[in-house]
Symmetry: C2
């Protein structure tokens, strides 16, 4: 395929994508396929000779689309949103065209520098404390990670490195292995599975902290656990707070937790993967109060800030902590500006070496929406969640299971877990809307998350009519 | 920006990308900017209100392009190639449009299933042993990682988990921390920096094995190191072989190393990040002989197989090893098919949770090029490297520093390291071509890697004329 054909096919693809998104409501949100459906639809080997592009495009509808869960359908209410917007897609096309790999400053200066400045822009949008910004003289700064999982892991590894150095400074005879076996990290029992996984990868104990009746961690309980662990000869070194948990969008009490971490010389990382985007609105910014105590903070612009996956924004107060943890300098990656102190080599900030020019997506989205446009998007979603909450509250058969703060509503039928499992199965089998469950205080709960950019009041109303219709049918059955 | 405007702007962007790539030779391959150049060119904060798209596009030329290292210029010979092709870009546009996050089968069945089948297609193209393929009943299978760094880390972590379980099975009283401190991994002293980094992250000792005069690891030396470490009470558990090292494209002797690993119950991972693509050509496939001894194998299709970053292909012989290492099952990620044994949940195979629909890029590229077209691309690059090698060999002032096997030529001026450092500085300062150095046996060496898809004989000839011109000027100076 040469440039001329790409011009033609690329324009067709632009139309295909626009058609897909404009007519996405007409597709069943959840696919009707069985595991293994795809293998029999295509050959068992790659073709020897080139095929025609028309055949490939036909196969997109024949092979791919029947198996897609349509995350951007206005009837998709599962997990948390995956952001998508046209400006981000345009930036991604440009990113693919430039195709640079920005592991060091020299590998493509624009790739590194735009990222640093965009993370400063975004940090200012969130009113992050100045210490988290790079500016021209700061010690902090931001980086784009692929996912929140990687941000959590990087912060835990940086904290582990700091803790080992600190212990070895006063006890030089202790081996790294000995110290590892005493290191203890903490997180909420509501934290994302990736936090537990970061502990496994890092080879440290990860304690789950019991939450209060709003599913949030309080300062006192962390303080007591740390005290007990220290008394047992262990070394508390890391706490991962969550702002906006995955099950119920609960907010840990970081204004209480931060001082405990600071006193105990523990790294506090804040995972606000979903909720972070909301902090650009003044009315939600108080949820972030306490960030001043944190060492690192992260949220996914690719969840709720209209930037297509992947683009997880992470800031650290002291970039030397993260860079120093894993700096390895082979000659083939050295460049003459690296010792100047003026440049950032993002390869030290992340697990992978290679990286795409992802900051273009932030730049395009910030400029094409403006802060006002982005705030309007957040507010619309929160409003839709409140609308759904009102519908649930008005139906006495149902209950709301957690305070609705942002765009997630946790609800259930009053009754057994089995009843709610049956309801969810009927909902998802019908494929008109798509939800996933969570567990709160041992109860099986349905999560209704406002996800798609195109979701409007009419879709919320339709979803609720559908849920109540299925509820009616379920409760009619002799078993109930 | 609505669908109508996206249609218009998207088509403009297709033309912009095609123009960029068709006229890329006219741009200086390496940018003429100083660290910090970008910050002063744009505002210090995001705009409050939306801006016009025309202004953004103008800024791409004003702000971004002056700071881009043009990896797809035919005069870019640095690092290793970053793959790029029009079919891959089309697939990436589709991927962005669908915008699904494929962490489990249910999150988008097509995303998971196409990936499994494409990795089978690719495995067959490489003639990987059957055990590495998923098929319908296999225990092995492939996965797309973002980068080779992550593939190495995942294999080391899976090996670490297996080793801990094995030790604890016979010594249940040993803590994980105690075992970690005895675990030893091995790799070549020529291995990529990411291998050393994987050891740091995993908290295990990573021994660097001295290489022979072709910069490759031999079986005997690993055997002896393992013997010594075992005698010292340590636990050898992992060896990362390299096929096509970063400094000189050397190939470890895996037919000797594999049996040592198998006998010693050590996981053998093969990192063929760059060279792996060449194994689709029968004449280069013998370089992969010995893969039958490996537990995992990885290479970057985004280096040399015309698939845009990121798309690193990894296979394991026993997927239970990798899945079992970090399986955590929160309710919100459960789905009814996961226990059927028929589905793959790729979230267990990787560090991040989220993942893009990257297999579309493989599907488009394999079908639009055909195996024959991909082989032709590899052969063309190898031919160009041989052409450059001949030019160097014909000039008695220069020497070739490592056997030229694929698309990389390591060469230097006969003389001091300082002389060669000066030559490289002149080359890169001129910005007509771009190279990076490496160190081989203590000598400063220039690496000339065939990188861009558009590189032809004329560019090689021009690059050599340029290098010899700068050499002439350098050697004219009074110092020499």
């Amino acid at each position: 395929m040469d440039g001329a054909e790409f011009r033609r096919r690329g324009k067709e693809m632009v139309d295909y994508v626009a058609d897909y998104l404009e007519k996405i409501e007409q597709r069943p949100v959840y696919p009707d396929v069985e595991p293994g459906y795809l293998r029999s639809l295509i050959p068992t080997e790659a073709p020897l000779e080139a095929e025609s592009y028309d055949d490939i495009l036909k196969d997109v509808e024949r092979v791919i689309m029947p198996g897609v869960t349509h995350w951007h359908s206005p009837y998709f209410f599962a997990y948390y949103p995956a952001a998508s917007s046209y400006p981000a897609m345009l930036a991604d096309m440009l990113c693919g065209g430039i195709g640079c790999i920005g592991f060091t400053w020299a590998a493509s200066p624009a790739c590194t520098e735009l990222e640093t400045v965009m993370l400063d822009w975004l940090g200012k949008m969130l009113h992050l404390p100045e210490q988290f910004l790079a500016g021209t003289h700061g010690h902090g700064g931001g980086v784009i990670q692929a996912t929140a999982s990687e941000a959590t892991l990087m912060s835990l590894l940086a904290a582990r490195c700091k803790a080992v150095r600190r212990v070895q400074a006063s006890n030089p005879e202790q081996s790294e292995g000995e110290i590892f076996s005493k290191l203890v990290a903490y997180t909420s029992d509501q934290a994302h599975s990736s936090v537990e996984r970061a502990g496994l990868i890092g080879g440290v104990i990860m304690r789950k902290i019991p939450t209060d009746d709003s599913y949030a961690v309080k300062g006192e309980i962390l303080k007591n656990m740390v005290k007990e662990d220290k008394a047992a000869g262990l070394i508390p070194f890391f706490f991962c707070a969550t702002l906006g948990t995955t099950p119920s969008c609960a907010f840990d009490h970081i204004t209480e937790l931060g001082p405990v971490c600071n006193e105990e010389n523990m790294w506090m990382h804040i995972d606000a993967a979903y909720a972070g985007s909301a902090f650009i609105c003044p009315e939600f910014r108080p949820l972030l109060n306490g960030v001043e105590f944190a060492d690192s903070f992260n949220f996914n612009t690719h969840k709720w800030l209209l930037v297509n996956f992947d683009c997880s924004a992470m800031w650290v107060k002291n970039r030397a902590d993260i860079v120093g943890a894993f700096k390895i300098e082979p000659l083939y990656l050295k460049h003459e500006n690296q010792e100047s102190g003026l440049v950032t080599d993002y390869r030290h900030w992340q697990i992978p070496l290679g990286r795409r020019f992802r900051s273009l997506k932030l730049w395009f989205v910030f400029r094409m929406y403006g802060l006002t446009g982005l705030q309007a998007h957040i507010r619309k979603h929160v409003g839709l969640a409140k609308e759904f909450e009102s519908l649930v509250r008005a139906d006495k058969r149902f209950e709301i299971c957690a305070k609705v703060i942002l765009g997630l509503v946790c609800f259930r039928l009053k009754g057994s877990n089995e009843l709610n499992q049956n309801l969810l199965k009927r909902i998802n089998d019908s494929k008109e809307i798509h939800l996933v469950p969570c567990q709160l205080s041992g109860r099986f709960v349905l999560r209704f998350a406002i996800c798609a950019r195109a979701t409007e009041s009419q879709h919320i109303q339709q979803a609720w009519r559908h849920i109540t219709q299925l509820t009616f049918e379920l409760l009619q059955e002799p078993d109930h």
